[in-house]
Symmetry: C2
Subunit: 109 residues, 2 copies
């Protein structure tokens, strides 16, 4: 898709800034928060597929029925860290957490 003069590639951050709002705005915060909420569900599913496993097979590896895998893949935000780690362990996948401290003043009171 050609446009006139404007570069066609943006980094993900730049796109977020432009279309969603700069880091710190309410809209961006909400977006990032929702993104984080569902990213783990997506990851579990993605890795399972990468491993060519059905939910039932993964369930066996974890030691639960397929229904629990399905629920996790649809919404992991209410799952405990321990549960998530158990699943990734069964998938032979290493998960790591990275924290970035934003340069904004905290408000409270």
């Amino acid at each position: 898709m050609a446009t006139k003069g404007k570069p066609m590639t943006y980094s993900l951050s730049e796109m977020k800034d432009e279309f969603i709002g700069k880091t710190g705005t309410k809209k961006r915060d909400a977006y990032e928060h929702e993104l984080s909420m569902e990213v783990l569900s997506y990851m579990i599913k993605k890795v399972r597929q990468e491993r060519n496993l059905t939910q039932e097979q993964l369930g066996q590896l974890v030691g639960v029925q397929k229904a629990q895998i399905s629920k996790l893949e649809s919404s992991a935000n209410s799952a405990t860290i321990g549960t998530i780690l158990k699943v990734f362990k069964a998938l032979k996948a290493e998960i790591s957490f990275h924290v970035k401290i934003e340069n904004r003043k905290l408000q409270f009171g």
Copy 2:
């Protein structure tokens, strides 16, 4: 601390391989699992300190009593993803998750 001839710097992975065991060994797996279990607790505390907050102040930001913050900082593995995200949001910190798929065959049956 000087030694003869041997380089003094290792990457974290190399050190893990040498002192704990290669990825895939039971010992390494156990280590990684335990590490993941507690890293979030550590991160919450670290970021809070980085922000120069007491547990009570962070509690106010999150909307809970300081006791809950203390419990989270001592053991986050049983907390839900949602709870963890709520705390990091209050700390104005972005958390991201990274998954690395290990190249090992899965066994099940």
